[in-house]
Symmetry: D3
Subunit: 132 residues, 6 copies
């Protein structure tokens, strides 16, 4: 269906092209991945999503690699194949080594396990963990 | 029910006490939080879970604070109240500032959003993201 | 395995054929999609599921297109590829335009984001939102 | 809001009372839990849900306790506090011992962990596991 | 912890006050709910989230009530108590009747069921449902 | 990427071979499935995960087939295609009949439905279900 077509740069409206150019300039790359090409069917969502990602993933109190690994951890938990594939590559491009990937996966796996142990055993929140 | 009771140190078997003591020594603290006190109803699970956590959360290619933030990101995605409360405090104790927490939450929120945009739009994985 | 085979109309028992015929008559179509053909391995589940869907998706206080979009929103949140693909087509067949699809996806994405912001920040429920 | 009120037996319509009576007779109990009292705001959903549960949870190829433990495993994975609390009690009433509960929780925790290891490592399905 | 405090209007910075005023003006209400008061600890996230919500939930190809019900359906699927409570009230304020709520819940429940039937039975996507 | 390669027995280190041999001996089989071959990129995770699975899935208060069905129920709820495919075969190998599979799936589907009915209707936990 039309709503899922990939919008290529050469076929894009000026509004979409402007976002594509900002993506490529910000990421210092010369191609656009399918996620953006599909979102371009809705230029308002394309722009809003890109502006949010650009703001959120920029270096700040956390460095870009840490942010990529957090993004990946959420994507694995949600079982999103596209997001897992793309953020693995993004994290590797930002310096994630094999050793870091293995530790990242170990934490994600363990957290998913203990999340269920805590809820299945109906553990009550300790006073020390309550918000002040 | 008995299976949910908090097992206090003074009432614990030597096997459970040994785990509690290792938790307190490893974490340099003098108390045990409810998660472990409830797991202690099943000493085999208590020991296995603690040994895994101790191994996984130790400093390695990733530092302990990064690991705590990844743990938190998974817990928020899974909506586990106990885990969110406890890992917020753990991360703060390991040096997470307010600014870091805000960026962490922004990434977690955005990843949960774009995970669904990618799957709802049925985006196909780019050749560049496929495993070699 | 046998439990996953597609049960075609010509090979189906009278009990299964009766459900297939009701599906085609209710939906004014001349084919049965794979979901039902696989469920037909268990005629009891086939019948119960179809009877429930038929009752729930019929026009009522909500119109059929609104119901299809809600079905799609759940399927995207759960990351079910079959359900996303089939309900996109069902909704389009019931009148969902591209513009409606884009807004639907924007709401689904945003809700998945703010669900985590609310839980990660441990926001307490306002008195005004509590059940009376 | 009215849609969340508990519908007590004495205030219930004959249609709702008939379902309540069938619940109590089938379960050999003299009270109705809140789940059904709230669903009773919508008699059609009350009846459909009860008829489905009654059919699905009856003894068959699987015994009732095994079914309760499966129900519990799903509820823990989905982090539904009401369902966790109620199905823990139901399973205990059907003979689940503390030892069984501990093993059940260990399996649920481990499955939630390895589900993410499998997807995060992008493991491809072995030919031997593909449907024939 | 400070990161979870409610930021009241009287204590808020001009930047936060500006968002609060826009929320109240857009929603024609005189109070701010806790979600925004907590997000206000991070003015950048407060502003970005509000601007996105304001854009996405405005009338468009879908009417505001339909959008609220979709938001609610996602929140129920994700098991977010705050979001369920707040969006039930929001939807009711926009005209959702008890009958509409009951049908909405029936669709959400059924979709969550059939999502798992489709994946557990490993149903393959019909050619007719594939993207063209 | 290297982190996703299948580590075959002939290329494996002695440490990895020892785990492979224990898997084959424990399961009385002569092949290793992809899950373990990928985990072998991180021998520490391979060993820890196998040791935990071996301990948890052994016969105990619950029999191995019941444990496999619980594993499957979690995997379906989480929508993990690899895990669904592999645990369907594992359960069949341990004696799950078609009739048992159909009942298993019916329970999983129903639990996913009523989990959302309970949370969407904001049902409060009955006193009788509270932990003592």
């Amino acid at each position: 269906m039309a709503m899922h077509q990939l919008v290529e740069y050469t076929d894009a409206s000026p509004e979409v092209r402007a976002v594509y150019e900002d993506i490529m300039a910000t990421r210092k790359t010369d191609w656009i991945n399918n996620f953006w090409k599909v979102l371009a069917n809705d230029p308002a969502t394309l722009r809003r999503t890109w502006e949010s990602i650009k703001q959120i993933m920029a270096p700040g109190a956390l460095d870009p690699l840490t942010k990529e690994m957090i993004y990946f951890a959420v994507s694995v938990t949600n079982q999103c194949p596209y997001c897992i594939a793309s953020h693995t590559v993004s994290a590797a491009n930002k310096g994630m080594t094999d050793a870091m990937f293995h530790e990242l996966m170990a934490v994600v796996g363990m957290a998913n396990e203990t999340n269920r142990l805590a809820s299945g055993y109906q553990v009550e929140i300790d006073e020390q963990f309550k918000k002040l």
